[in-house]
């Protein structure tokens, strides 16, 4: 099977019209390494220099080739394929080999399995070419080089060009120069003379391709899932018995994780009730852990946060603990005084609160690349951003220039200004009239015109805001803005956007 990789990595499906190409630096020139289907249809092929391709199609979208990301994605595809066969191996840069001997009948035969693979890959947005053959080498060669669907495997193999042998370029060129164009031409010659002229490698490759010699594939390691289960002869309903059993499972999981040098990030507890109902409880931790007491506390939080409490009914038949996500965790050396480090304690608190309040309940603020005030920051779950984020320090000697809270959306105010585009003189907000004592401004903030369609045209880029820092007669400090300049809009409105300390 050979998914067409580079095309599917970056191209969003709805943005079809612009052709897309991936470039890489070869020698001194930028050359196309891979192109998408739109580009292929336009006659842009890999190997072209970027300058040539741009000359033909100026609207070509170009991204750098990222072989590492491709390899990573191929690995994920291969893991996805492990559902069909235990013997799967990715063959970089663009192929995955499945040994489906003995597993194809589970899916209704080889042809049905191939259709299933094709459908699944299509759902993932991948275009792939599938080939079935007796050996992995033959399947790879057919997938990569066969012109169309294969009906007669030996004939198709013999019709393949010699490049399908996968020899080094010099040997391939030498074969071509000798007039040997297809694999069939080669197979018709005596092996000894081939070995004498092109090396033993050519003969081995030929024998493997034609199925005379078999080499087993080296499948990807498939770690056993971390799943721990207790089954009971009689259903248990007593809370204490369930808790004791759960603690046993956690200790068992901790042992298994320790053997692998890992810690769990996600724990799923499934309680199977005797009447067939099942309760699933899931917790996540910010850092990998295998401390049973900590996980137990988090599950307590989770159970406490449930809308309706767990009802054991006539008892649980079985209890299953799974660790679907685990990460490497080395042994840590605690301090001699037996106290945990501050970071570990904080991570534990964040986990507890996140479990209680949900992942969006404990947030950190991280900078976001925008000059529009309300878009300048993002709140992200704290359990996923363990390290403190750096924010630019303020200018020394300046008063606070940004408010401590921002209203979203801004609240409309009625403003009386002395001159139309001047600062506010007095304003009414929440039914109270405020006299302006001190002000600073305007600080002019333009709209992000590049985000709008046609925003580069005059008058189409969105309204400019004029911000004023205002202090009223009582000493309250506000951030007001006028939405629009007078030449952008006839009667621009004023808004309260934030409060200063």
């Amino acid at each position: 099977m050979m998914p067409s990789l580079a095309g599917a990595c970056a191209a969003p499906p709805e943005a079809a019209p612009a052709p897309l190409a991936f470039v890489t630096r070869v020698g001194g020139a930028l050359r196309l390494a891979a192109v998408d289907q739109t580009a292929q249809r336009l006659g842009i092929v890999p190997g072209l220099t970027l300058a040539d391709a741009r000359a033909r199609h100026p609207d070509l979208a170009v991204t750098d080739m990222d072989p590492e990301a491709d390899r990573h994605w191929l690995g994920r595809l291969a893991r996805r394929c492990q559902g069909w066969s235990p013997l799967v191996t990715p063959v970089p840069p663009d192929a995955v080999v499945l040994d489906m001997a003995g597993s194809a009948h589970l899916f209704g035969g080889e042809a049905a399995l191939a259709a299933l693979v094709d459908d699944t890959m299509a759902e993932l947005g991948m275009t792939c070419r599938l080939a079935r053959a007796d050996t992995a080498e033959a399947a790879l060669a057919l997938a990569r080089h066969a012109p169309g669907p294969v009906t007669d495997e030996p004939a198709a193999l013999r019709a393949l060009p010699v490049i399908a042998l996968g020899l080094d370029p010099e040997a391939t060129l030498a074969l071509r120069r000798a007039g040997l164009r297809t694999v069939g031409d080669l197979a018709a010659r005596p092996a000894a003379s081939l070995a004498a002229r092109f090396g033993a490698g050519a003969v081995t490759a030929l024998r493997r391709l034609l199925g005379d010699e078999r080499r087993p594939i080296a499948p990807m390691a498939q770690p056993a899932p971390l799943r721990f289960e207790r089954r009971f002869a009689e259903p248990i309903a007593h809370e204490r018995a369930v808790a004791a059993c759960f603690r046993d499972l956690l200790v068992e999981a901790a042992g298994a994780l320790e053997q692998r040098g890992q810690g769990g990030r996600r724990f799923v507890l499934t309680l199977l009730r005797s009447d067939g109902a099942r309760h699933r409880l899931r917790i996540e931790t910010g850092a990998p852990t295998r401390d049973p007491a900590l996980v137990l506390r988090l599950f307590d939080e989770r159970i406490g946060a449930l809308a309706d409490p767990l009802d054991p009914g006539f008892g649980y038949d079985s209890i299953v603990l799974a660790v679907p996500l685990a990460e490497p965790l080395g042994a840590a050396q605690p301090g001699l005084d037996g106290r945990d480090s501050a970071a570990a304690v904080l991570a534990e608190l964040i986990d507890r609160l996140s479990t209680r309040l949900g992942p969006g309940g404990v947030l950190r603020l991280v900078p976001h690349d925008s000059h529009i005030p309300e878009r300048g920051q993002q709140a992200v779950p704290a359990s996923r951003t363990p390290a403190p984020v750096r924010w630019p320090p303020p200018q020394p000697g300046e008063p606070p220039l940004r408010p401590i809270v921002l209203f979203d959306p801004p609240q409309p105010v009625e403003v009386i200004a002395e001159v139309p585009d001047g600062p506010p003189h007095r304003f009414r907000w929440r039914r109270t009239l405020h006299e302006v004592r001190l002000y600073e401004g305007p600080e002019r903030i333009a709209a992000e015109w590049w985000r709008r369609r046609g925003g580069e045209l005059p008058g189409q880029g969105g309204l400019t805001r004029d911000y004023y820092r205002i202090e009223d007669a009582h000493g309250h400090r506000y951030w007001l803005f006028r939405h629009g300049l007078y030449d952008e809009k006839p009667a621009p409105r004023w808004y309260m956007h934030g409060l200063f300390a």
């Binding site: 904080l346 609160l353 309040l357 309940g361 809270v405 921002l406 000493g475 200063f500």
Partner: protein, 270 residues
């Protein structure tokens, strides 16, 4: 899995309450009235004088947080999701403009008051953050004497202070160490009639085992991370050389009641 500690001097016994530490605010009279500054490991309540002072009370908490939490410890700020629309979105840029470190800020969004109090108590007990702030809007009926005592005990045990901000609320009895009323005050204008550094009017409504009824007008000095006493508003006539300073009468402000003596002493120290 952690290796068991080899030596644990205090294993098996409850950890002793940490020594009472204070954060000196930078204003001598304020620190003297508080016995050395804002106490760590205690609950401090700040009531906004009116809804318009909601910005002031939060700004004050940011300033206090920058001072009290220390440079590398987190500040946990808890707020109710119901009040987010009225209260506004906390801004990291404004936070850092007040001298705080927004990278250390942990924002907890809780669904109701009961969860708010439970989360605050857990955070205080764990001693993980350097400071816990509760931003409470409205009456908060669940925060009764028992709940407040529970928070105070948790804070005392761990040595982490709790700032309880109350907006749109009337002062009620509680187990807090100090109770303040906070209002914005006119700032010292910068050149060009621009608003200056944040200025607050603070009234010490109550203090456990200490003087109360005092008031201060404080200016937050961001670069030094300290408060300083704000000069009196209005144009100040320079005092001519040779005339004794004692001629200046301290400005008497209302609200002091029987503590007027202390109030005057505070003012005259200006």
């Amino acid at each position: 899995m952690r290796v068991a500690p080899i030596l644990s001097p205090d294993s098996g016994s409850l950890p002793a309450a940490p020594v009472l530490r204070h954060w000196a605010s930078g204003v001598a009279s304020l620190d003297a009235a508080l016995g050395g500054g804002f106490a760590q490991g205690r609950v401090h309540e700040f009531y906004a004088a009116s809804e318009a002072d909601a910005g002031a009370v939060r700004g004050l908490a940011v300033g206090l947080g920058a001072g009290m939490a220390g440079p590398d410890r987190s500040v946990l700020w808890l707020r109710c999701s119901r009040t987010l629309g009225r209260a506004g979105v906390l801004q990291a840029s404004g936070w850092s403009d007040l001298g705080g470190r927004p990278g250390q800020l942990l924002l907890g969004i809780v669904p109701d008051t009961l969860t708010l109090l439970r989360s605050a108590a857990d955070a205080l007990r764990s001693a993980a953050p350097g400071l816990v702030v509760i931003e409470g809007w409205g009456r908060m009926a669940e925060l009764d004497l028992t709940a407040s005592r529970r928070l105070a005990l948790a804070a005392e045990r761990s040595g982490v202070a709790l700032l309880l901000l109350r907006i749109e609320a009337q002062p009620v009895p509680s187990a807090a160490q100090t109770r303040w009323q906070v209002a914005s005050a006119p700032s010292r204008a910068l050149p060009g009639q621009a608003p200056g550094a944040p200025t607050f009017d603070l009234v010490l409504l109550r203090q456990r085992a200490g003087p109360c009824g005092l008031d201060w007008r404080l200016e937050w000095h961001r670069d030094q991370c300290k408060f300083r006493e704000a000069p009196l508003p209005g144009a100040v006539v320079p005092v001519p050389a040779g005339r004794p300073l004692a001629d200046r009468t301290g400005r008497q402000r209302d609200g002091g009641g029987d503590d007027a003596v202390a109030g005057r002493s505070v003012r005259s120290a200006a």
